[in-house]
Structures are given as structure tokens and as C-alpha cells.
Subunit: 555 residues, 2 copies
Amino acid sequence: MLSTMQDVPLTVTRILEHGMTVHGTSRVTTWTGEGEPLRRSFKEIGERAARLAGALRDDLGVIGDQRVATLMWNDSDHVEAYFAVPAMGAVLHTLNLRLAVEQLVWIVNHAADRVIIVGGSLLPLLVPLLPHLPTVEHVVVAGPGDRSLLDGVTPAVHEYEELLAGRPATYDWPELDERDAAALCYTSGTTGDPKGVVFSHRSIYLHSMQVNMAQSMGLTDQDTSLVVVPQFHVNAWGLPHAAFMTGVNLLMPSRFLQPAPLAEMIESERPTHAAAVPTIWQGLLTELTARPRDTTSLTQVTIGGSACPPALMEAFDRLGMRVCHAWGMTETSPLGTVARPPAHAIGTDEEWSYRLTQGRFPTGVEARLTGPDGERLPSDGRSEGEVEVRGPWIAASYYGGADGENFRPADRFSDDGWLKTGDVGSISADGFLTLTDRAKDVIKSGGEWISSLALENALMAHPAVAEAAVIAVPDDKWGERPLATVVWKDGESTDFAHLHEFMAGEIAKWQLPERWTVVAGLPRTSVGKFDKKALRKQYADGELDVSKLGASPLD
Amino acid sequence: MLSTMQDVPLTVTRILEHGMTVHGTSRVTTWTGEGEPLRRSFKEIGERAARLAGALRDDLGVIGDQRVATLMWNDSDHVEAYFAVPAMGAVLHTLNLRLAVEQLVWIVNHAADRVIIVGGSLLPLLVPLLPHLPTVEHVVVAGPGDRSLLDGVTPAVHEYEELLAGRPATYDWPELDERDAAALCYTSGTTGDPKGVVFSHRSIYLHSMQVNMAQSMGLTDQDTSLVVVPQFHVNAWGLPHAAFMTGVNLLMPSRFLQPAPLAEMIESERPTHAAAVPTIWQGLLTELTARPRDTTSLTQVTIGGSACPPALMEAFDRLGMRVCHAWGMTETSPLGTVARPPAHAIGTDEEWSYRLTQGRFPTGVEARLTGPDGERLPSDGRSEGEVEVRGPWIAASYYGGADGENFRPADRFSDDGWLKTGDVGSISADGFLTLTDRAKDVIKSGGEWISSLALENALMAHPAVAEAAVIAVPDDKWGERPLATVVWKDGESTDFAHLHEFMAGEIAKWQLPERWTVVAGLPRTSVGKFDKKALRKQYADGELDVSKLGASPLD
């Protein structure tokens, strides 16, 4: 029996056409730092996207699935590129402007980008890289910036507005297959080369529907979303696409991500929703405490990237901004969970504990836990394992391995095709995820897992400890055991036996570290996290002065 | 460049598995008319669906895409069939128990149903049909009803609960293709044979996501939906599937669709949402006016099937139940539009006019207008044409034509594959649909359209007119012209020239009818609408006494 349904592909083109017609009066407002913000309706953006596609095709000769990169802040030009490039059949490659220069060069070359659209203010970052980017034939400059920096560069240089001015406001968008590549984003992993995730039209479409479900972000044309999360960071969590589906107005901060301008744009543009990482939101709180503003419009804040400290959540609750955790990664498009408490918990003591989880899996994201020996663990809210996920907007592989084919490293994908997230935690029976560690940081001791984070939190609760990192080190008997690395507070210290005893109230005895070391400071990654990879190397190279408190508690 | 995304099919199985785990404590509550309602959690329903699938496969031998029909009211057993049958790979065929007996027989034979699951209270309807249903090998009886009616019937008879008791609470659901057939529903068209629409897993999944979008019904696990719209009526507008996606509790009225029990279940079960057709909702208003109840929980009512009279909407507004129009048909799964006013209209005089439209097209439903001569008309809020739609949950054909293949009648599908809805109206620039007539009732006069509804409304505003129907009749010069058919109120009458003049204030002169007839009563369809097909036949057969008021106004 054959279905009688139409076989209409799920494409970015449909999202664009819907947004620019049905929601043609919704707007993208871009903060300019001085004077009036730049306001463009979805209809204008759609027309400008058509002009951009025409220019890319006819002036720059972009064909097929060639890559068009963006090196841009969040602004309406960037939204135009979000739609024009995939809808014309090419692939949008958003470049993370915070990456190390070497990584940017590696990524552009790996993706073989033919065109880079660059925000004028980012020319000082781009221009020195150009000699190392042989595939880049065209640079298109949008917005204010010093063009003279481009004098003498090899690629052809174009003005964004001039390109658009020369082309019609309509484009004969091709019919695409929904499984065609639409956008490319590289993970900024700390191990090995960056890895490319290629989103399909289908995955973007389905992810956007999910973002718009009431159980998820649930925004409508009555909302204005302040998109602090960068557009180069996993499609700004899908908000531009989701917005064109339901007419959500977008407020784009451009490069003005400092607390003062953020507070100013909230007061004057009155967004109802914001999406940000905790660090930036913490800064905003400090600003609002020092100089209160009218932020009453903003009632819903989606926080992702890492967990929001409870104190920060409480502080924002008091301001009327309800923080809602979301969890995900480049490989999950990124929305993997959203922490909306279940109905029965609302208004009870349980509500808070649900809000502190990473969130609940939506339809479309199946999740399971795998233990240290690859065994399946139950979703019972207690068992801890590596989180594996499956779904139509979850990655199955990475782009372009050594042989040119997409590749599936065994540490990231299970034999049956699920993504290994690298996150360790538990899943409750009602689908809430609580993370306890990263898989690469967890200590695998005698077939059981010890959370490095739990040990670090217990250590840092001691008044003499400024910082602490716990890493796994090899152990003949147990496979791995924890090594506690401690930084004393200025003028403070104590002995390891005391710390060991101090932690014993919190931590199971067999999990307590017997190896200890003191360092002056902990190495950090580019995003400010403890660099445990560097620490593991220091240990392996014998650079740490390790004490041992007798045998393992298990011996 | 190949996408790196997982290729996970969108299936009813995924919806079931998500609902019974993540939302396992949400409930389906079935009204029983006396005593406590029957309450089952989504987890129980999932387990019972597995038992049902096991029984259908192993006891009844259902394989492949064989059809399993349901002749049932809205209840939790019916929800189990909704999931079990498609998830096992078979096709759920919901039988409309309000159809004429001949149509039911035709439909069951056309679908070649192998099994019918029947609500016990509906045995008096089913049993007399069985001798005419040669493909039906098994009858499964669920819920209370007189089993002795089945004595001596040819198909094997089974008790629903006994089948379930004999099977395990898990089932090894097959991996299905998302384009596989999942459910079958016949349109009860007034012209020709009923036509079967076969929903795919994909279309059901996408439609359910759309239902759950905040811009649409936007329900969450905090909601309880009173599903008055029958499950045999286009999948109860997708609510059971949508509910399992986000944990919406379902309140099922079973056969208790009378105003008093509806009022009672609203008061005692406190639903937050209801979905119904205007007729039933009108009855509820009368009941609530006579005997007020606490209906404060119920704030959102989706009304479809036909437009809700403004007076009814206002009356429900006063009760705190906000009525929201939705429009669609079997061929659109059915959600084609939802009348949520745009942000700019909320709180203004415009809000009401938006609420009176049929609603706004969501992402996933593209719409266009076609004029009398097949020309494309603009979506400008003024041009009127037949509404054509396209999208992944819109029909492309009907099931099983004469040659066994799915077929595409030219009056229902355009050459380029869009569905011709048979509805005539306008579409505003911001995607709101306003219907003015059915395409088969509109009068095509000299290349222009005249709305039969507009003429009828103008006529019925006259104090002497009880009812009026206007049909198209052949005209040598103009192709078609309107014939006005009038029923006088008891003891009242006037002459046609006066009525003609009376209408002239409302209706353009060239649209006014010159042909007039008086009848004692108008023929009606099974659902109570004027039967214009019968009227056109009476005219063709010369059975009407037609007067002509001079020449056409256009001559």
C-alpha cells in the first residue's frame, strides 16, 4: 500500500520563503553601537538573500555544493547568508572567529572554501590568513571596516552591498534534495584536528521545528529573541531558522557583547527571550546589579554551552528572567535537551532540581547510557554512563577524512550508528539528563567510573583550596586512579591527609584519590576551562611532584 | 559534499517510544458515563500497544501492510490501536461510524480490511454489515456491549482484553521506512465514491510536530486536551500523536458527546484545551447557560470542520474559553491553518477580524490561489480563487483507483502536484486564509466568480426568508448564472423583484440572480448542510418552478 502523501522536501528554501511572506513584517534588528539600530524586515532579508544568491552565482561563479564561508558577528547580513547560500544549493561554512589562527587556516583549507564573506571589523583577523588559504578566490566585505587592509591580497575583493545592488530581488531557487548538505560547522575539540559536521536541509528543518515546539523554546511572532550565542556557534542554536518558521523577531548584538551594551539593548529593544552561554550572562548580572535597567520584557533565557551556576539562576529569577538550561553540541545541531520541568514538579520543591539538570530529551532525540565496559545502563536516574544519542538532527560521521570520505571515529560513534557524546551522566525515567563529567575526564577504576568533577567540587569546598583538577593516571592494579592537583589560596595550605579526610564525607571511600600534587596554577584552554589534556601530559612527562597517601583505599 | 547527519526515519514508532518513556506518566482518561473514568498512563498504553501488536501478528496473522480497521469512539483502546497498528508496519483504517451503511461497506471492501476492532457499543452498527464484508476475517471487540449480537457471524471473534492478556508487554517493532503507509482515512465526499487518503509515517510525524509548535496548538505536558473531534475524523486532528510527542494528557469522551456529560467532564477533569466542531460546541454553550459549571480550566478551544459563528466565539470568550479557528480536510492531515492573530493585531480592533479568518498557513503548508480560468491570483487579501496547497502532510493522490494504482483526479490535483482544496477564498499577504465558498458551489459567470454563500447570506437577512440556497445553472451567454431558491417563513412571503432590490445594497449588480424559485424545504446532506448537488439535479430534471426577472443584469 503506497502512501498518498506529497513528497515535498524539507529545505532551508521553504523556511526562507515562508518567513519572507507569511512573516514578512517580522524583523531582524542589528545593534550598531551608536545611533539607531539597523532594522530589516524578513521580506527585505529574503529579497537581499535572493540578491546575494544571484551575485554568488553570476558574479562569483559559485556552483553546486561549493563552500561559502562567513567570518561575521551576529547581524542581518549574516542572516541573509544563512538563507541565500543553502537555498542556492551551496554550503554555508560559518567560521568561528575565536579559534586559534592555525585552526582557522586548517578549517578553511579542509573545507576548501571558495568564498569568504567577512564582517568589515574582522578584516584584521582575516587578512593575515589569506596567503595561507589557496582555495579562497573571493572575499566579500560587509559592514564598516578598513578596506585598505585588503590592498594587494590575492583573492578578488567585493563589497557586499555593491554585489547586492547589482542583482534582482528574486532568485529561481533550485529544487533540492532534503538530504543535500546545507551548512558546515567545525567542532573546536581540544584533541586532534577540528572535525566538520555537515548539516543537511532536512536536519536543519526538523531541528527548527523542534526549537519551535511549545515544550522546547516555543517562540512565536509575539517574541523577540536576543541572540547572544554567536551565529558561528552551531547555527546560533538554530534560532535564525526557527525564527523564519514562526516570525520570531531577532535582536542581533553584532560585536557588542559586553555587559553594558547588552543591558542597553535589552532596555531599549525589549526582547522577550535571550540565548547565551553562562559566562556572558554572568557579566550581564554584574552590570545590572551596578546599574539597574528596565529588563522586564525579558522573561525567558536559554542557557547552554555549560551548566548555569545555581546562584546565577536564582539571581536572574529575582530579575524576572527565567533561566532554562539546554544541552547539546555541534554534532547535535545543537538542541539535545531543554530543561523545562515536568508538569507535576511545577510549583513544588522538585521544580528547582529539574531546572538544574541539563534538560529533557525531546521527540527526535533518543538517548541511552553506556558503561565503562560498553554495557548498556538503565535510564533510572542513578546509573552513570556515557550518553549516546540518535536522531534525524544528530551527526553520523565527520566530514572528509584522509580518503575524502566522511569518517566515523570509533570513540565518537557506536557500531550501530549512535553518537557518543563524550558526556557522562545519568538519565531519569522521564528523560532528564544530568551530566557529571566528560567521558575523557572520568576515571575508570576497576570497571567503575569516578567523576573528576565530583572530586574537584569536594576539594574546592575546602577553605585552603583555590582550584583543583583531578585527572586519571594509569594504575597497575585498577587500570586508572585519580590524581588530585591542588592550587592553594594565597597564604593558605594544609596537608593531603587532611584534604583526604575532608573529602571523605562527600565521596565514597574507594573513589578518594591517593595521588596528590600541588601546582602554582592550572593550565587552561582557550575558553578558560582547566586543560586536563595538558595536565595529563605533564604527569606523563614526569613534570609533576606526586605524593602517594599509602595504597589505594581499595587494596 | 555529503551531509554527515544520521538518517533516522520519522515514524509513529518513535512517537510511541518517546511518549511511553519520557512522558510515561502522562495519561489518557476515558469517560465511562458512570463512576470513575478509566485512566491509563502513556506507559501502560505503550505496553498495551505492544500486546495488541503481538496479538495481531501472532494470533490474527496480520502481516505486511494489511489493514486493521477501527470502528470505535474516542477512548484509550483506540489510542492503543493508533500506535500498535502503524508501528508494527500494518495500516490503521479508522472507520467513520456516522457514514451511511452503504458507504461503510464500500470503504471496508475498498480498503480490504482484514481485521476490524470494534467498540462493544457499536456492534449493532457493525454486525448487519459483516455479511457484506468478505475481506474481514477477524472482529476484535473492545469495551462493554452485547456480544450475543455476534453469534453466528462468519469472521472469527476475539475479545480485545483477552488478546492483550495473552501477549508480552514488549514488541520487537520493525524498522520502517518513513514513507511507508501508516493510516488510512476516507473522505466522506458528497460526490462520487469515498476517496482514501493514506497517511505515511513521515506525514504523521511532521504534522504532529507542527501541531505542537507554539504558533499552532502549542500544547505541553502541562495541558490536558479534551478530544471531542472523533478519532475517526482525520486522526482526531493529530492530537493523539502530538500528545505522545510532548506528554499532553488526553481526555476522551467516548460516546458521551452530549452537552451535559461534556460539561460534567470539563468540570471534573479540568482540561485546559478542547478540539471540536461548532455544532457540538454550540450545544455545550446552551448547556452551560442553563446550568453553569466550573469551566475555568479550559482556556483554549480549537474549532474546525466549519467556521465558528462570531456570536458563539463571543459567548465562549465571555466564559474564558478562547476559540481559535483551524482549517483543513482529510487531504491535509488535517491542520492547514490555525487562526492565531499576528503580534501586531493583538489587543487592537484588528485582532477580532484575524480570529474570524480560517487561520494562518504554518511552515510546511504552501498555499496559492487559482482563478476561474486557471490563472494564478495574488495573495493580496482581495483576490478570490480556489485554494491550492502543497506540503509534506498534504495528499498527492487518492488510494487505489480502478487499476489498483493511486489516482489523481484532475479536479483535485493540479498538473504540478498541488492539492486543489475545493475551497474558494482569499489569502492575505501575511498568510491568513478567508474562505468565501466551496469551489463546486461558486457560480462561474462570464469568467468571474460569484459566491453562492454571499448571495445566500444576503437573502437570509430578509425577514420573510427562512432559508435560501443559491446554485449555478447553465446560461448560454455567461456560462453559469445564479439560481436563488427560497423557503418562506411560516405565513410570510414577498415577491422576487423586492428580494432582488433588497440584495442590491449588499451585492454587486452583475452578481444578482435573475432566476428565482420557491420551495417548501431545502434538501440536506447527512451532516445537515444544504444539499446543492440534489438541488442542481432537481433543476436539471425540470422539477423546479423557475421564474426569470428579465435578462441578466449584464446583458
